[in-house]
């Protein structure tokens, strides 16, 4: 063994300021916005395209995203995939309640070809009957597997509780709905909604931004179709009430979820709320994690995050806890929320969270993939990368009083919607001593 010498933590060196990489933007005549960002670290290009897709039929939208790349008049799904591979590329398409999203990456020498193939499917996807039938079966299987995942079931129950009759309330289609989708209805949905107007394409990588815009304009300029704006109603305010206990017999853990009110990226409370969330459960060195994991050992990976959607934002705290300590875990959760909402934090605790938030911005923008996803997400809120500087400045200015105020406004346990999925026979009494409980069958 070594003789112990007392060593002290070295101070941090001077901070290198956050720098925004070179970029260019153009709105094409067809209404498509293209943003190109230069980060030449590796000879690749990242691609993100999103199209507004709110209020689309859930089953049709999901199946459209799974078959957008399944064929055109001149190419089969295998040819499309093979042609993308030739330039080191690949696309995947996905759907959320706001958008249809195509993502990919490939060798930068293949940017022209990737965009040409993207245009090919955007303007000419045919949704062949056979491929649609195959993908419908695959989607049904995936939905069935999701329905045996506790995290999925807990999320579905929470969304229903949060959103009630709002379109966000259900985000996974039913098996029967998927089975009733026809290829013809996908072609109609494509014609109605897969449009350049209001869509945003982000290209990040070893590109010269202006030249990348020229390429995008050349390849995607012929994509036509006018969007007709589809407005989502604002998300309803949270309605706190009884804890919803969803029964999952024989579950060996309980999935604890708490939803709390939150605001979007452009709201004046945004930066302070982000920091308040970090203090509560948004990073490992948070009160919640240090309490229910590092002190009590109730759970492995508790985490809270502010989720932003077009129609509203919500803070969701999630933990999978041992069945026998479900009640105590809820107690500590309520305690930590209540403590933050009632008692101002210590200045050094805020400084630690602030440095984490600022450092995360530097790390998040240090890769092509990170920059692409951030640029795309910001664009979804009408923001551009220069918002990084503004957001950093806001984070720097947040005071202890600001955090105390937003915590009282947003993180108060009295405002929370609580859902627990678990073995009701073993946990209903544990929860019932803490709060009124309403029990539902798992679906």
């Amino acid at each position: 063994m070594t003789a112990e010498t007392v060593r002290t933590l070295p101070p941090l060196g001077p901070n290198r300021p956050l720098s925004v990489p070179p970029q260019a933007e153009r709105r094409l005549t067809n209404g498509l916005t293209v943003i190109a960002v230069r980060r030449p670290a590796v000879p690749l290009v990242e691609l993100r395209l999103w199209m507004p897709f709110g209020r689309a039929d859930l089953a049709r939208g999901a199946l459209l995203s799974q078959t957008l790349l399944s064929g055109t008049a001149t190419m089969t799904s295998v040819q499309i995939a093979a042609e993308l591979q030739r330039v080191g590329g690949g696309f995947s398409a996905g759907l959320d309640p706001d958008r249809l999203m195509v993502s990919g990456a490939g060798l930068v020498t293949g940017l022209d070809r990737m965009l040409e193939l993207l245009a090919e499917v955007l303007t000419g996807a045919t949704y062949p009957d056979t491929e649609v039938a195959t993908e419908a079966d695959r989607l049904v299987d995936r939905v069935q597997v999701a329905q045996s995942q506790p995290a999925h079931l807990a999320r579905a129950a929470l969304l229903r509780r949060i959103y009630g009759r709002h379109p966000y309330a259900v985000q996974t289609p039913e098996v029967e709905q998927i089975r009733s989708v026809t290829a013809a209805s996908l072609r109609r949905l494509h014609a109605d909604r897969v449009h350049p107007a209001g869509a945003v394409l982000v290209l990040v990588g070893d590109v010269h931004p202006e030249r990348a815009l020229d390429t995008a304009e050349r390849m995607l300029g012929g994509w036509k179709g006018d969007g007709h704006p589809v407005d989502l109603p604002d998300a309803p305010p949270l309605r706190p009430g009884s804890l919803l206990l969803v029964d999952r017999p024989d579950s060996v853990q309980s999935s604890l979820r708490v939803a709390l009110p939150a605001v979007g990226r452009t709201h004046p409370d945004h930066a302070a709320l982000q920091l308040a969330n970090l203090l509560f459960g948004g990073y490992f060195s948070s009160r919640w994690v240090e309490n229910i994991r590092e002190d009590k050992g109730y759970t492995y990976g508790p985490h809270s995050v502010v989720e932003h959607s077009v129609a509203g934002s919500v803070l969701v705290a999630a933990a999978e806890v041992a069945t026998e300590v479900t009640g105590p875990a809820l107690l500590e959760t309520t305690y930590e929320l209540g403590r933050l909402a009632s008692v101002p934090p210590k200045p050094d605790e805020l400084e630690q969270a602030r440095r984490y938030a600022l450092g995360s911005l530097q790390l998040g923008t240090s890769t092509q993939a990170g920059l692409a996803s951030l640029t795309s997400a910001y664009a979804g809120n009408g923001l551009r990368l220069d918002y990084l500087a503004e957001y950093s400045a806001q984070l720097t200015k947040v005071t202890v009083e600001d955090v105390a105020q937003v915590a009282a406004r947003y993180l108060a346990p009295a405002r929370g919607v609580v859902v627990v999925l678990g073995d009701a026979a073993l946990i209903a009494d544990q929860l019932g001593v803490l709060t009124p409980v309403e029990t539902a069958e798992s679906t």
Binding site: E294, A322, Q362, L363
Partner: protein, 450 residues
């Protein structure tokens, strides 16, 4: 640069056609060894103000003692519970309070600890890693707390979900006969609960030696300054030599092995099959074609098995193929395997899927593959490799493991090119070895629970 290849076209003509050459990276590599035996790799890149720091110890799941399944992973947790000059929780707070992120992970052959941070925190990260290399605080209280945390981790990832541990925990006991290769690396609750502080002290003394470790630092650093900082913080870590590594080899299979088990939470059948492959370290040239083969078979809609099983026959709904039970072809030693994993539709026929795999592999071995098919697979693999190294942390981790297992961190720069140089004959020859009599497979029978 990659050798030029002739081209074939399958799709419509294109305006700017050239087969994408596979570009190299040129990350510089500085290597040195401290007097205490610690091997150090530095790879500067000043394009963003961030650094990655990785410390690897040459001990993993295969080295844990019988009766102590899961111990390598449990010990990884204990390395975060405080050290000579750091209270419990201090490590997390110091990394995150500098704007960074941290983690650790336990693999078959090594355990890694890492941070990625704004570059002004480099010295802090080195201090934190050196402090726990000198000695973690191993206490009864921390041990019991982390046993509880690990049990919840196992419940999340294995026991409370469908397909938990499939196939990385469920296939090795079919394929292998010896404890190091076959046992459950997450560990049984009984073994985890039996672990003692004395076990941990012994494990640390034996395996967490300076001579058994590699430090890699990547990103926004000046090499001379970084050398000084590494010396300052790690120079007085006491010297302890690396333990000799046991021989984990096992003979190849000579007859097919097949097991099934019921998963009460799984709604649909699934199967995973594995074949032994050449020694990834001692015979890298023979190993690499298998890495390419796995992608030819399963990477994307235009791959052999996806086209056949998912699109044409519809006997499978999802497919993946990869090298190594934990999915990384370049971080594992012998013995290891090529794996194929298939998820089936309701009532799906596993035998039929395995027969079709045999048929397609046979066709590949017999008829070979067009140059165009090989070249596009290699181009896609290059993208994946380059993308993984774009993050400074990915680069530090990858170089650390290449240093530890191969004394060659610079191999990272060569991987896309080497993958691109694998020939059609080599892929065919690799395919020819995937015979049913060398195969171990595990089938998941759906338990019917919703």
């Amino acid at each position: 640069m990659a050798a030029r290849r002739s081209q074939e076209r399958t799709g419509p003509t294109r305006s700017t056609d050239q087969r994408a050459g596979i570009p190299p990276t040129r990350y510089p590599v500085e290597r040195f060894t401290l007097d205490n035996g610690l091997r150090v790799v530095l790879t500067p890149d000043r394009s963003a103000p961030v650094v990655g720091v990785a410390v690897l110890y040459d001990v993993g799941i295969r080295s844990e003692p019988e009766g102590r399944t899961g111990f390598a992973h449990l010990f990884e947790h204990l390395m975060f519970q405080g050290s000579e000059n750091l209270e419990k929780l201090a490590h997390f707070r110091h990394v995150q309070g500098a704007g960074g992120s941290f983690n650790g992970s336990t693999h078959l052959d090594y355990t890694d600890y890492y941070e990625t941070l704004p570059s002004n925190a480099l010295e802090r990260a080195l201090f934190l890693e050196a402090d726990r290399m000198r000695g973690p605080r191993l206490t009864e209280e921390n041990l019991r707390n982390q046993v509880d945390v690990v049990k919840e981790e196992i419940r999340v990832n294995v026991l409370n979900r469908p397909y938990g541990g499939f196939p990385w925990l469920t296939l090795p006991p079919v394929m292998f006969d010896t404890f190091p290769n076959a046992h459950d690396g997450y560990g049984s609750f009984t073994d985890l609960e039996s672990a003692t502080v004395a076990d941990a002290t012994d494990f640390f003394r034996r395996y967490y030696a300076s001579g058994n470790a590699v430090l890699a630092v990547s990103g926004d650093l000046d090499v001379d300054e970084a050398v000084t900082l590494v010396q300052r913080h790690f120079g007085d870590v006491p010297h302890r030599p690396a333990p000799s590594r046991p021989d984990f080899t096992e003979p190849d299979l000579t007859a097919e092995r097949r097991e099934t088990y019921a998963d009460r939470l799984a709604p649909l059948p699934a199967v995973a099959a594995a074949w032994r492959v050449p020694d990834p370290i001692a015979d890298f040239a023979a190993y690499l074609p298998y890495v390419v083969l796995a992608e030819v078979l399963t990477d994307g809609e235009a791959s052999r098995l996806v086209e056949r099983l998912v699109q044409r026959d519809r006997t499978a709904t999802g497919l993946s193929g990869y090298l190594g039970f934990m999915g990384d072809p370049f971080d594992v030693r012998d013995p290891t395997a090529l794996l194929l994993e298939a998820h089936l539709p309701p009532g799906g026929d596993v035998d039929k899927v395995l027969r079709t795999v045999d048929e397609e592999v046979d066709r590949l071995a017999t008829d070979g593959l067009p140059a165009e098919e090989l070249a596009r697979t290699q181009a896609r693999m290059a993208t994946h490799l380059l993308r993984d190294t774009d993050a400074v942390l990915g680069r530090a981790l990858r170089m650390a493991v290449l240093e530890q297992q191969r004394d060659d961190p610079g191999l990272l720069n060569d991987l896309p090119r080497l993958v691109g140089e694998v020939t059609e004959e080599q892929v065919r020859a690799a395919a020819a070895t995937l015979r049913p009599e060398r195969r171990a497979s595990i089938e998941v029978v759906p338990g019917g629970a919703k």
